[in-house]
């Protein structure tokens, strides 16, 4: 990722239960609306945040979602970072494949999120947690 400068205003949502997932989703949607993303894009961003937050609850129990504005040149976007100190991923490639899940899910969370966003960065040390950073440009 080409490290776009972020606006100082960073919104942070601690995530440890289902209602936190909803809260993170709403935060993202509100910022997307403020940044004048189209309505369908707002829904996509909200869904991506939902997937990332859900992963935290399901696999790491708790973590945080950080949402901020991303800027690079004339481009404006929304940047979402999902951070946890859970088990991490043993095999990142595998986790990014459709239908792969160690839980009882559809296995679409990470690959689905990657399809939604423009930039997708995943950083995992097994046993150390997981950091997923995504950007969707307007």
């Amino acid at each position: 990722m080409n490290a776009p400068a972020a606006d100082p205003a960073v919104m942070l949502q601690r995530v440890s239960c289902d209602s936190d997932v909803v809260a993170a989703r709403q935060l993202a949607r509100r910022l997307a609306d403020e940044l004048e993303f189209s309505r369908p894009d707002q829904a996509l961003i909200a869904t991506a945040v939902s997937e990332l937050a859900r992963n935290i609850v399901n696999y790491a129990k708790e973590g945080e979602i950080e949402i901020c504005t991303a800027r690079a040149g004339a481009k404006t976007g929304i940047k979402v970072t999902a951070r946890d100190r859970g088990p991490g991923l043993a095999n990142v490639e595998l986790a990014l494949q459709d239908g792969y899940s160690t839980g009882n899910s559809l296995g679409l969370g990470l690959p689905g999120t990657r399809r939604i966003v423009d930039e997708f960065d995943i950083c995992s040390d097994p046993g150390q947690g997981l950091v997923v950073t995504v950007i969707k440009w307007r």
């Binding site: 829904a43 996509l44 997937e51 859900r54 899910s105 689905g112």
Partner: protein
């Protein structure tokens, strides 16, 4: 009382030691504060009386403070203030602080009023301390210790109060998520289930059970599941819906999903949820139509 203090001095929990660190409360400070207990016990009633008899209209109905002369409020406040000197900010008094916090909430005592009264009391005790002190430097040290410990005590009380509130909110949320979803009988063998709100794991399990029960009781052969009122549909919600609908199928009933908005449809496609498993039928009207046809088969 001394036993309590010595035991807590020996084994403060790690978290608590950290809090003392933030407020720069040392062991010596705690000893100094607990040494003030006789002074505090002797004067607390007079201090409270002075606070309440000042001008300022604390007995206004609907004001920030408790109604004047409400004895249990004053008892609670006396107990809470003395706790600072007695228990020395140990973990044991945590329940007491939660109680104090909830007490304030129940009696409509605002945090500002609580802090105001607390500060007033500490100032008075410092006045008394200075009057009685023979060793001026020592009194100053004790006063500093008292102020630090008091700030720490107040902070922990307010934190306990806010934790109790968070608990209450979470409980409310759980209750909300357990709101039953109605399973409506449209005609013989045809059920309509309008789902509204947030579909989390817990609720979708309940929902599945309700639908399966209704299918058995009413001998239904088709179910229309309408999710117009579900704000957020991600892969987990989709998964819940698919599982509910699969279970329905195993009970021998067909199910039809309606009320997928354009936005939800687009998001689901991007995530990679395919339509077939959900058996979607557009809006409710078409869904009911489709379900009727399934009945006729």
């Amino acid at each position: 009382m001394n036993e309590v203090i010595s035991s807590t001095l020996q084994s403060p929990s790690k978290g608590l030691r950290e809090v003392w660190g933030w407020f720069d409360v040392s062991q010596d400070d705690r000893v100094r504060v607990s040494g003030l207990l006789p002074l505090a016990e002797q004067n607390i009633e007079a201090i409270l009386e002075e606070f309440y008899s000042r001008e300022g209209g604390y007995d206004r109905p609907g004001g920030d403070g408790p109604p004047h002369g409400m004895q249990d409020v004053r008892d609670e406040q006396r107990r809470h203030l003395l706790e600072l000197f007695e228990a020395g900010l140990d973990q044991k008094s945590f329940q007491d602080r939660v109680r104090a916090g909830l007490f304030n909430e129940n009696y409509g005592i605002s945090p500002s009023f609580y802090l105001g009264l607390y500060t007033f009391a500490i100032n008075r005790i410092c006045d008394l301390l200075r009057q009685e002190a023979e060793d001026e430097a020592g009194a100053l040290e004790t006063e500093k210790a008292l102020r630090k410990a008091a700030a720490c005590h107040q902070a922990m009380t307010i934190e306990a109060f806010s934790a109790a509130r968070t608990d209450a909110i979470e409980q409310r949320e759980r209750q909300l998520s357990e709101l039953p979803t109605p399973v409506l009988r449209l005609q013989a063998g045809l059920l309509l289930v309008p789902v509204v709100g947030v579909l989390d794991s817990h609720r979708s399990r309940l929902l599945t059970m309700q639908i399966l029960d209704a299918i058995r009781e009413q001998n239904a052969r088709a179910v229309v599941l309408d999710i117009t009122g579900v704000a957020a549909v991600d892969s987990m919600v989709a998964n819940h819906l698919i599982q509910t609908m699969t279970a329905t199928r195993l009970m021998g009933a067909h199910s039809v999903l309606t009320g997928i908005s354009a936005e939800v449809a687009q998001s689901l496609v991007k995530i990679g949820v395919t339509g077939e498993a959900l058996n979607p039928a557009g809006d409710l009207e078409r869904g009911v139509e489709t379900a009727r046809k399934l009945l006729e088969r």
